[in-house]
């Protein structure tokens, strides 16, 4: 767990985004090993596959499509530091009354979990209790989760699906709207015409 803290500090401080993405992949692997120590094998499996695999690939893809260095911050972040400390102190105060680590008689382990552990073999005949709870006892939640993944996939397809607009194939704006011209570069549209006319002059 000390490794996790060191890697998180490095992620905060390092400015080269490629290194930060690699460190987040290592962070995900360390998290998975801690999950195995805490007896959560299904969760470790999912975390490794999703965190160190898919998440790293997507961030590298984003870095390939955008820049790869972070800017030096202009002002000292005093107010965020104060807010972070106050929030951390309140959270630590909130954990004062929580049950001890690994306690078998904590309220979280008393009510529903023994019922699932005892009845899972009788009700479903599946030895893996996590799969039985996920697919049968709490199947409705899994349906909602699948819908969330479906929606995210559709969202990414809608956002990034069409061919990227370069200045060569950008369509001519038909009406100069009064609100939207703040962002578009007014020098972009005459440029292709200039280039093509210059090329024609050069070839002639």
């Amino acid at each position: 767990m000390a490794f996790l803290a060191i890697i998180s500090l490095a992620i905060v401080r390092i400015r080269n985004l490629f290194a930060v993405v690699m460190l987040s992949g290592i962070y995900s692997l360390l998290m998975a090993s801690i999950f195995v120590i805490l007896d959560a094998v299904d969760v470790a499996f999912t975390e490794v596959a999703v965190g160190a695999g898919i998440s790293t690939i997507l961030m590298l893809g984003t870095l390939a499509l955008t820049t790869s260095r972070e800017k030096v911050p202009m002002h000292t972040p005093l107010l965020p530091l104060i807010v972070t400390f106050i929030t951390g102190a309140m959270l630590v105060y909130g954990t004062w009354d929580m049950p001890a680590f690994g306690d078998a008689s904590a309220p979280a382990n008393l009510h529903v979990a023994p019922y699932y552990l005892e009845r899972s073999m009788v009700d479903t005949g599946v030895p893996n209790v996590v799969t039985a709870v996920l697919a049968s006892y709490r199947g409705y939640d899994t349906l909602g989760e699948l819908t969330v993944i479906f929606t995210a996939g559709i969202g990414v397809l809608l956002l990034l699906g069409r061919r990227r607009e370069t200045p060569a194939n950008k369509p001519e704006p038909k009406v100069a709207s009064n609100g939207g011209s703040g962002r578009s570069d007014p020098g972009k549209n005459p440029a292709p015409n200039d280039d093509s006319s210059a090329a024609k002059d050069g070839a002639a």
Partner: protein, 122 residues
């Protein structure tokens, strides 16, 4: 001292949570903000799973014990909830990263203060 030993897991994960929170709030680069959000989420998962751990237990896959003493399993319910949360987290990250790509194409930069300056221009 006993209190320190029995509660240190909560405090370490709160420290990680605050690191992720600081990255989201204080850094201006959008990709770093998303990575900070991932750190925050990951520390919440660790906190949750550590609550479900029982000393002397094993993974919640039913095995045949040796017949005399019952096998102690760790609590399976947080595993299910965190499994859902991890997958929802990666869906959110994918959508956020595609939004960052679109923002970069529209504004030319992914630093937050430069984007605000461009928005404030007439």
């Amino acid at each position: 001292m006993d209190f320190l030993v029995s509660h240190y897991n909560y405090w370490i994960f709160i420290f990680l949570m605050m690191l992720g929170f600081y990255v989201v709030v204080a850094r201006g680069n959008l990709v770093k903000k998303i990575i900070g959000l991932n750190i925050f989420q990951a520390s919440v998962f660790l906190l949750y799973i550590s609550i479900g751990k029982i000393f002397g237990g094993t993974a919640p896959i039913l095995i045949d014990g040796n017949g005399t003493d019952p096998v102690i399993y760790s609590n399976p319910l947080p595993h299910v909830l965190i499994l859902t949360a991890i997958v929802v987290g990666v869906a959110t990250t994918a959508l956020g990263l595609s939004l960052v790509v679109r923002i970069n194409e529209a504004y030319g930069t992914i630093e937050e203060d430069e984007i605000s300056e461009m928005d404030l221009e007439p």
